[in-house]
Symmetry: C2
Subunit: 159 residues, 2 copies
DNA sequence: ACTATCAGTTCCTAATTGGAACTTACTTCT
DNA sequence: AGAAGTAAGTTCCAATTAGGAACTGATAGT
């Protein structure tokens, strides 16, 4: 199977990755959350080649994560802004960054600290169940298959 | 800059993506959380070519996300298991899957429902501040730069 | 007229991927 | 004993993608 066809699977994770799972794309989104909006700014900060950046921005725009907004006429220039759909990816970015802070930082410590404005403390991101409010770990989750794809998604014990 | 060099940046997100940001790698981890452990099972479920799978499993193992455990001798066979470091990626997977459920599902609805055992309700993942317990959105976060990399990480207003 | 800005596109070479077959070390079936 | 099966890779080749640098086009500033 080719990587470009993974969006044809029913799995929501596979479909998400079809939009944001390419090399460089999550780094583009990191910069979006830092306020970067323009092509050349992304290019200089990331060091990615211009045609790869062009391709990734197009995929993000087509996927609904970013929108292209004109910021001037004559000459016409566009910038890229996060949509609501894009801003909803913040928990993914926050947890990935926190994971890197925990396991991959060097002696100087994490390069950025995310301070929660409301309480003034460094964000300690937790996965919380919106229904009962408890923190959630992998073992706390039981998977239920949508009958529409019964038996096609979960591994069998046999392998 | 080449993709293989992004782990040399101080950014924790870049370093995380150096381990898990490759195409296919997050789908390998999805299957790990579903209980898949063996090479051929990953290969059949993902449809990825065997040498790409081999490369990704090696990167995950070298990165400390998975560990190779012998499950039989004669002939010697190994399986891949999540480490504690790997299980700590669960919030990333859960939020990505939920995002796909919300924006990318088709008429039949999300293919899998993650039920929180403790409360019996479908997990509604939230990003929570571990300090004050409030839900967190992008606008609630203020970034503080580690002085060691002062001025090198955040974009300037000038561009 | 000359230079700069910005958002790309084009060109070429080098690296990576997709697909299929092959390898190694056993075990089980006939 | 010989043939087929299992598991975890490795090897080979053609096709796609990425990296690097230069180029384009519309316009503004000097």
């Amino acid at each position: 199977m080719r990587w470009q066809d993974i969006d044809q699977q029913p799995c929501s994770l596979a479909r998400s990755l079809a939009i944001i799972g390419d090399n460089w794309t999550l780094l583009v989104l990191r910069d979006c959350f830092l306020g970067v909006r323009r092509f050349d700014d992304f290019q200089q900060r990331l060091g990615v080649t211009r045609h790869v950046l062009s391709d990734r921005l197009r995929k993000l725009t087509d996927g609904g994560v970013l929108e292209k907004v004109a910021y001037q006429e004559r000459p016409l220039r566009h910038e890229y802004r996060l949509t609501t759909m894009g801003r909803d990816l913040y928990p993914v970015i926050a947890h990935l960054a926190q994971w890197g802070d925990k396991y991959l930082a060097d002696e100087a410590g994490p390069p950025l600290v995310r301070v929660h404005r409301q309480c003034g403390e460094p964000l300690e991101a937790k996965l919380q169940c919106g229904h009962c409010g408890e923190n959630v770990e992998p073992k706390d989750i039981r998977l239920e298959e949508n009958p529409h794809w019964a038996g096609q998604l979960l591994p069998t014990k046999a392998g």
